[in-house]
Symmetry: C2
Subunit: 346 residues, 2 copies
């Protein structure tokens, strides 16, 4: 049995979910997984920070209200976010990075990852920014420091995609992929198929908490573009930058387009895709595509996400599941920890 | 780079497919996977057997006609199937077992597996019989002899399911699964939905080579039942025997049933399922079920297979892909070899 000391960077829904899982399941994990987690530090720009090398009470952390400076209420806590101290000085074996995604430069999350990796600390993250924008640098840094850098949750939250491709499909020769990688836009298209206008469907997604007040990152494809970069670089050994991926969204699709597609048994989906061309180059795109009913992604409805891998040896293999959710995404961090534990142990 | 010496037991479509992959890709695997395969023996009840500890020419083996005693044509070959010699005396590190499935007692494949495991030789197999009927004995035998016993291809050929659950979903707390695990019966139901009678759909499946002259193993659910036993024992730690699984098929479903289901937006699927009950027991079944259109298995059409895992932490995750095919199933053997190589290496 291995006990890992873990520092939580960002204490929004995801790391709060992980703390909740730790509070509820740490004892069961010892038997089932051969590992347990001890939270030695938490930092959050809004809530402040706290360090205790002897271990913090996960349940107490979860119960803390989401109020500015709330960590100051705990003994030893402070309203200031001492990120560097928590990452480098808490004695953590693993940093779980789950701050907000900055699609422009991936900061400050990329710096948090760098600090940990440079200090010989494993990093698990669900944050698209650092991987899409600084992935090869951070992977190299992890290799040099002989630590893990895992980010299964960055693409489809808890639904496995990177590890599925890397492990279970190793040797299958992945030649490309197509994915429904944004639950909000897929929800909007699904509601439009049921008769709503684009604006009404977006309003409904906003009411349900799927879409932001400004929904453009979701409906214009920018969120999917980051995920395509991550998957193409991971699965196809591409060296894509965000600007290499042609990107359009679904905001130009009208109720008439949707109705016309339905008549001919087709449906519109926002597809993030990449494939290896005959000359070895990688072509990647984000765009609305008209799929025939028999396409494996045609029946993926609502907020569900899915990826179809096109392989030389097994044809098309598709995985689908939730693409968001507090506990689902926290599970992605757990699955990263299990993976690094499995490698550690052998 | 590791070179594994491999003995092929059974030389029908699957192991012929593996030999073809070896002939075409061994050099590429050295760079991409860090392993290569040298065929040191082949045995087949119909074709005979051949051993060469220095390695057989994979391309020459693939080119051999499927005629009785054909191995006698090769230098050192014989028309007799010296199974025990090939398994125990060829110097193999790995036995790839791909003989026919015997649903009654799993023989002679189970004996072939025992011979290899007892001799300290890894076994990879695509054969449902030994695992469904003797799985716990053979797994224990492998553990005692410190060798791998891998059978990813026994459930959905090359589409990953066992390793997906074991690795990528480790810690997700799988509580049950539902699967479309027989391509023939799913093809028949798909054609019936398009208007064919049961008999006409079966005849068409037979014409396409999906269904045997006697289609009962497929349409009465017996094939699925073996797969449910394998998955329930693997994913839910059950100790099921075949007789523990209630089993009915699709032969009683009429064109009228199908039409009625379609009217209400439902469809009939042959579902193999198991779930953990509140008291910890495992309930497993094979039966035709009426699925609503939104069910993740409702849109799995034709000969495609799929499994939905129901988990505590990620909700429902579904994987779909081919459930048969010569090269697809040969890939399952390769994926088992990659998995044992990865474990070996660490």
């Amino acid at each position: 049995m291995t006990e890992y000391k873990i520092a939580l960077v960002g204490f929004g829904g995801v790391n709060r979910g992980l703390a909740q899982l730790i509070a509820e399941r740490n004892a069961a994990w010892q038997a089932a997984l051969g590992l347990s987690l001890k939270i030695v530090g938490v930092t959050d720009l809004f809530l402040g920070s706290i360090v205790d090398r002897n271990g913090l009470d996960a349940g107490q952390l979860v119960a803390l209200p989401a109020e500015k400076g709330a960590f100051a209420r705990l003994p030893g806590g402070t309203a200031e976010a001492f990120n560097e101290t928590v990452i480098k000085q808490s004695g953590a074996d693993i940093v779980a990075e789950a701050t907000f995604t900055n699609p422009v430069d991936g900061e400050p999350a990329a710096t948090f990852c760098r600090w940990a990796l440079e200090s010989g600390i494993h990093v698990v993250t669900t944050n698209k920014g650092p991987i899409a924008l600084h992935g090869s640098e951070l992977k190299a840094l992890a290799r040099r420091n002989n630590v893990a850098f895992e980010y299964e949750g960055a693409v489809m939250s808890g639904t496995p995609v990177i590890r599925l491709a890397r492990q279970a499909l190793a040797g299958a020769e992945i030649q490309g992929f197509e994915g429904i990688l944004n639950g909000t836009s897929n929800y909007v298209l699904t509601r439009m198929k049921e008769g709503l206008s684009f604006d009404a469907a977006v309003a409904q997604a906003q009411q349900l908490g799927y879409a932001e007040a400004d929904p453009s990152a979701d409906v214009e494809g920018y969120d999917v573009r980051l995920k395509v970069v991550i998957l193409a670089n991971e699965l196809l050994n591409a060296q894509l930058r965000v600007s290499d991926v042609a990107c359009s969204g679904i905001s130009a699709i009208t109720a008439h387009d949707i109705a016309q597609a339905s008549e001919s048994g087709h449906c519109w989906k926002l597809i993030g895709a990449a494939q290896r061309e005959a000359d070895g180059s990688i072509r990647a795109s984000v765009e609305a595509r008209l799929l025939p009913a028999a396409h494996p992604l045609a029946a993926i409805n609502g907020a569900t996400n899915a990826v179809s891998f096109n392989t030389a040896l097994v044809g098309t293999v598709t995985v689908s599941g939730p693409g968001a959710g507090r506990i689902e995404t926290a599970f992605a961090l757990l699955s990263d920890i299990i993976a690094l534990h499995t490698t550690d142990r052998q």
